[in-house]
């Protein structure tokens, strides 16, 4: 199937600002799904609220556009009800890790087979540029006019600590790598987290004098390096990208199925 067959063309051009990185996440995700040869009917996309969450309106899969921070809770219900489906859960950084932080760590801990994509633009885009738990110390936001004093989470470290079975980081500059990683994350059985560094030129860019979308993507190229590279040894401040964890551990729906079998054996 061609990439265009996976979208709802009637809703295009989409609502995202010029140069918004969320569109590149959509683009790479469609290519990952196309390369996996998946049918639209075997995928469910569940999203919450935010500019990022609007992605579920544009894909022609089964889609649920739910409430802020709770996409993983809805997705957990869908997966337990229909474990044979592939569930993709794109979230903004606020959606995933401020209001949704608790759902996030517990979904990872349970190891339920979902693909969580954290579309990390380091700000609340939809509501006008408030800082998020991923903005980081020293950044500017409408709610931090004298600069942010909150430290940020490291999505990769947090996901690993919470027990996720698959953990990766990439950027919208590295769109081909993103598509490769998303393919692997989708087929991995267990809770998969892909952090995608993306740009909100409208709020993060303006507030932080980070330039336009092109400048912000150039910056992603400069501040990241493949996992284990020589460059990282020389410059420890570089952020690594690639797959950090890919492990087989008992998956929640399969374990739950066993519990049902045990309970049924008990009553019969």
């Amino acid at each position: 199937m061609a990439v265009k067959d996976y979208i709802r063309e009637r809703f295009f051009p989409h609502m995202w600002c010029p140069g918004c990185g969320h569109g590149i996440v959509l683009n790479s995700l469609l290519r990952a799904v196309e390369r996996l040869g998946m049918s639209k009917n075997e995928i469910v996309m569940v999203s919450g609220i935010g500019c990022s969450s609007r992605i579920s309106g544009y894909v022609d899969f089964h889609t649920l556009h739910t409430i802020h921070g709770r996409a993983l809770a809805f997705a957990t219900g869908v997966k337990l009800g229909q474990p044979e489906l592939n569930i993709i859960v794109p979230m903004g950084d606020g959606d995933a890790l401020s209001i949704g932080g608790n759902h996030f760590i517990h979904a990872a801990r349970r190891n339920i087979d979902l693909t969580a994509i954290v579309m990390n633009n380091r700000i609340y885009g939809m509501t006008g540029g408030q800082y998020s738990p991923l903005s980081g110390y020293g950044t500017m936001a409408t709610t931090a006019p004298y600069s942010n004093i909150d430290q940020d989470f490291d999505v990769v470290d947090l996901s690993i600590a919470a027990g996720a079975a698959f953990v990766a980081r990439t950027t919208v500059y590295h769109a081909k790598q993103m598509a490769d990683i998303l393919m692997k994350a989708i087929i991995h059985e267990g809770f998969s987290v892909v952090e995608v560094m993306t740009q909100c030129p409208t709020y993060f860019g303006r507030k932080n004098r980070a330039g336009d979308a092109v400048d912000m993507m150039e910056h992603m190229k400069e501040i990241t390096t493949p996992i284990g590279s020589k460059a990282k040894e020389k410059n420890p401040d570089l952020l690594e990208r690639g797959i950090f964890v890919q492990k087989e551990i008992p998956e929640y729906c399969q374990e739950y199925e066993r519990i049902i079998e045990r309970a049924q054996a008990d009553v019969s």
């Binding site: 990439v3 265009k4 979208i7 295009f12 051009p13 989409h14 995202w16 600002c17 010029p18 140069g19 918004c20 990185g21 969320h22 569109g23 590149i24 959509l26 683009n27 790479s28 469609l30 290519r31 919208v172 500059y173 769109a175 081909k176 598509a179 336009d212 979308a213 092109v214 993507m217």
Partner: protein, 67 residues
């Protein structure tokens, strides 16, 4: 594998929002922005069909068709 040969770039001017990402990151400087801030093909003969422009377009506005 034989190198892919360019048929044409298809740019959807209704969807293109003029971000300039395709033109800026093209390794061969094939694309440009026109006076209406839409992407246009300036040097198709230099295109190596890497499709980086296609996969980085946030608006799904650009397709690189190969033979």
């Amino acid at each position: 594998m034989a190198k892919p040969k360019l048929k044409q770039h298809v740019i959807n001017r209704e969807w293109c929002k003029g971000c300039g990402i395709c033109a800026h990151f093209c390794p061969k400087d094939v694309l440009e922005m026109d006076e209406k801030d839409k992407a246009v093909v300036k040097r198709p003969e230099d295109c190596i069909c890497c499709k980086l422009c296609e996969i980085r377009c946030p608006d799904l506005a650009l397709d690189v068709e190969t033979e």
